[in-house]
Amino acid sequence: DTEVTQTPKHLVMGMTNKKSLKCEQHMGHRAMYWYKQKAKKPPELMFVYSYEKLSINESVPSRFSPECPNSSLLNLHLHALQPEDSALYLCASSPSRQAFNEKLFFGSGTQLSVL
């Protein structure tokens, strides 16, 4: 069982809607990640938070807005999305971003459909 919890599991939204994806971990990890995965493609990194500060933004459009309220929580705020943004959004965490020998723990994802 994954120790990274994502809600909701499924989300359907219109292009004018505002919604948020939530991610929570209680493993004491200090690095948290958002990935986007299209069907039959590998996960693509979107954002990385390290010690609650944004450390990587992989040129993601501003209609995606991440937030890290505390070390256990990670949100992704969505606004004015396009149909091509439909994908599986995966959250992950790791103990830190400092060591190469740390594995990422993934949540089960939010399957997003934009109509």
Partner: protein, 110 residues
């Protein structure tokens, strides 16, 4: 640009068969290679390899890294239908983030 290539892209076998999945990488300042299994949604961790030539084993699964030739293989013996999944390989380098391959879709038929 860091790059990870997996082969084959898909594979169909029957229960009991042995399969070998391949992963080659070109990563600046390579540090580690990870294998994940993705059945429906969450990729689940299988192995992390950092040293060349040392086999990691877990039940019917094993993996080995060749840092000279820049590749890794994942072996699954006596496959079962529950092994059906996408197997993802990812490499960690100087960018301090994982670069994923496209995955191998394994289907095990009864």
């Amino acid at each position: 640009e860091d790059k990870v290539v997996q082969s084959p892209l898909s594979l169909v076998v029957h229960e009991g068969d042995t399969v070998t999945l391949n992963c080659s990488y070109e990563v600046t300042n390579f540090r580690s290679l990870l294998w994940y299994k993705q059945e429906k949604k969450a990729p689940t961790f299988l192995f992390m390899l950092t040293s060349s030539g040392i086999e990691k084993k877990s039940g019917r699964l094993s993996s080995i890294l060749d840092k000279k030739e820049l590749f890794s293989i994942l072996n699954i013996t006596a496959t079962q239908t529950g092994d059906s999944a996408v197997y993802l390989c990812a490499a960690f380098g100087s960018a301090r983030q994982l670069t994923f391959g496209s995955g191998t879709q394994l289907t095990v038929l009864p």
